[in-house]
Point group: C2
Chain length 432, copies 2
């Protein structure tokens, strides 16, 4: 029996899952490594942050996803290094995993562009812990403001959220947050004037949703304005302070909550790979998505500087990662069969963003756009189809239907502190 | 217009909610104080700990529960003292809330009976943070064992859980944990021999479910044995160590996880009230549930030493708290109408405990008992009816139906660390 080549896949996001889907049941052995034990459905992360869904609803256990694939092994661990000459990846703790082929699908994290205070005082929205922390914080600020209002302190800053960045995450977050406040929290406080709550969106360009058509952008601006979201265009942050932000023009906005969605950078792991890094730390790849000089290493998704036919960097979205993951996996199988590599060609299936209840923009290739209710239904259908795992899909659908019929957001619980996998000791102190 | 008396209710568990339900829409003003912003449906807490449900599924926001009640105000805060002569409760932070009537529905927490190591090394199962911590820990231990197994370390202790206490929480936890292991985790690890995982239940008496009929007890023992749960009767813990437990007889069980369900004590807040405390710190109450010498203060549920007609202490279960909360609220309304107080009479509607998939014991008053599938269906129906909030009920039902049909437990995610309401600053460090 010939020795089966071993493919290590770093990351279980959209790209990593897509790659494993192609490699399952083939003549290679696959080892999937992820720092978490779950795949996160990040397009709905803002729903967790705004109490529409629970964290479990958008997370599917990686082992369960791959349970029926005999040639796929799952390892929970944090990759801290890649050694291309030795063909090994290194895990924290010192273990080294040898590979014949490597697919780096490690994604991206928040980048603060060196703006003072972002790292320290702003909330990001890239991971499940991020979403839970942000939800806990926003709800706790309303509770604090209510307690202060009893003593006659208005505490308007506690009720103000600044969302930085007018891309899809910023738009979705601002829209959902304003609905949470006006439709749910508004009726529930005795002393607080929830009408004073503000959601301020700051965007560097002169409109929302860069990359969308003007029509969609205008629809997004109009919808958010109607929801009461204040918008500051053509400006950016000078700094973030513990109690607000200062804009470049000098305007100061007092706010207890600052959500940073304005920048991402490639996973620093690609620093182990050769090649001068491009914008956002993305690593250069050949047209088959392999690393120049290392045809056995592929980088896909957010961490790769993948380009379209015109030479433009592809956006850091799920579809690019999914198609890239499939492509890299197929090239490995072709290599095994002695066939030449093929160039990656990205197919644009369209993009969509939701701005709240029955309002979304969707753009198909060829200039077809939807907005409003129809866009929202399209967004709903596409996201439900892609949501991994039937149970999550059914639960999410039920939650949405319920939210929609009742304006309810039943996940408004300030969630407990759970110890992460690193700190597995018992609780520091028991209650009572 | 006469001045409306103010009733402060400490706690939003079953008892506190029941009291507010009676007082809503009447001629008193109600202020509800709770340390959390949610009501927890504790009978299903073991389901969160064993990955059958998400934490949001068993938590309903207190403000949402009381949103339609104009005379009910909600305050999130931790009560740290009661001053009966001044008729005030004190919150951490120094605020004092004046009351005309007070209902203490503050529940209980875990008691370790002074056994060395319990407080430090064992996991409790009384709160939502407890359940999330326990789930994270058990799942992380399996991940750790898998990583160690690659290097040839068997790591059987990582796969061993000792559950201390054979009451309903211990029985439910042991049954659900053994199902999680044998039906879900067993097929998902490559290097690990999950068949070596052990669940050991330690119970001081000679059987499970004290207070149930012999027939139910025997059914519980037989069901757990069939599920592979090892049981140690008529013994208790000498100590808990970081890597296991030592029983009084000297037996040592190596285990990475120890779950302590063997003891509870009344919320220490009742220490502010007069009267010598009884077993488990429960405070004495008059037959109308008021505090002797303070007819305006009522204590109900786990923290009260309420007795039945034969003088026996009532069990610390939801039904006693619910009926007590309603009774105390009704006495306040009677007092307002100038009518005499009535004595509390507990009505036993029966008890039930589930031992896993399609196995439960249910006991109705008068000696009627069910076991097996019929007991399980009864348990399911009763718990769904009592679960607060329609959405939670629907989600839980869907999750259960899915679990039942597929043996799936989709909440097997090691949940993020969220900051609690006390620590509302941004994350200590951003990823990347």
């Amino acid at each position: 029996m010939p020795v089966r080549p071993r493919v290590v896949v770093i990351g279980s996001g959209f790209g990593g899952l897509a790659a494993v889907g192609v490699l399952a049941g083939t003549g290679v052995d696959v080892v999937v490594v992820d720092r978490d034990n779950y795949h996160g459905f990040w397009p709905l992360l803002y729903q967790v942050a705004t109490a529409g869904l629970g964290p479990d609803d958008i997370a599917a256990p990686i082992r369960a996803i791959h349970a029926g694939k005999p040639n796929v092994e799952v390892r929970m661990g944090l990759v801290c290094g890649i050694d291309p000459p030795a063909r090994q990846v290194e895990l924290t703790g010192g273990e080294r995993l040898a590979y014949d082929y490597l697919i780096v699908a490690a994604g991206s994290s928040s980048a603060d562009f060196g703006i003072p205070g972002v790292h320290r005082h702003a909330y990001t929205l890239k991971t499940l812990p991020d979403a839970v922390r942000l939800r806990n914080h926003v709800l706790s600020m309303f509770e604090r403001a209510e307690n202060n209002a009893v003593d006659g302190h208005p505490g308007a800053a506690d009720l103000t959220t600044v969302v930085v960045g007018g891309g899809s995450t910023g738009v979705e977050m601002a829209g959902a947050l304003s609905e949470l406040i006006s439709h749910n929290l508004a009726g529930e406080y005795r002393h607080l004037d929830v009408g004073r709550a503000r959601v301020v969106l700051v965007e560097m360009t002169d409109t929302l949703l860069p990359g969308y058509s003007r029509r969609s952008q205008d629809a997004a601006v109009a919808t958010l304005r109607q929801k009461g979201v204040e918008m500051r265009f053509a400006t950016s942050l000078a700094s973030v302070e513990p109690d607000g932000v200062t804009l470049k023009g000098g305007e100061r906005i007092q706010a207890a909550t600052v959500v940073w969605t304005a920048g991402v950078k490639a996973n620093p792991l690609v620093g182990c790979l050769p090649g001068a890094k491009e914008k956002g730390g993305r690593t250069p790849v050949a047209d088959d998505l392999s690393v120049p000089g290392h045809p056995e290493v592929f980088v896909i998704g957010d961490a790769a500087a993948t380009r379209d036919r015109r030479g433009e960097l592809l956006p850091q979205v799920a579809q690019v990662a999914i198609q890239g993951g499939r492509h890299a996996a197929r090239q490995i199988l072709r290599r095994q069969e002695g066939r030449p590599a093929r160039a990656f060609r990205y197919r644009d299936h369209g993009t969509m963003a939701t701005i709240g209840r029955r309002a979304a923009v969707a753009e198909l290739p060829g200039g077809v756009t939807f907005a409003g209710t129809f866009g929202w239904l399209a967004w709903l259908a596409v996201h439900l189809v892609f949501l991994v795992g039937f149970r999550n899909r059914a639960v999410v659908l039920l939650n949405w239907a319920w939210n929609y019929l009742t304006w309810d957001r039943a996940s408004r619980v300030i969630l407990p502190e759970g110890t992460g996998p690193e700190t597995t000791g018992p609780p520091a102190a028991h209650p009572g």
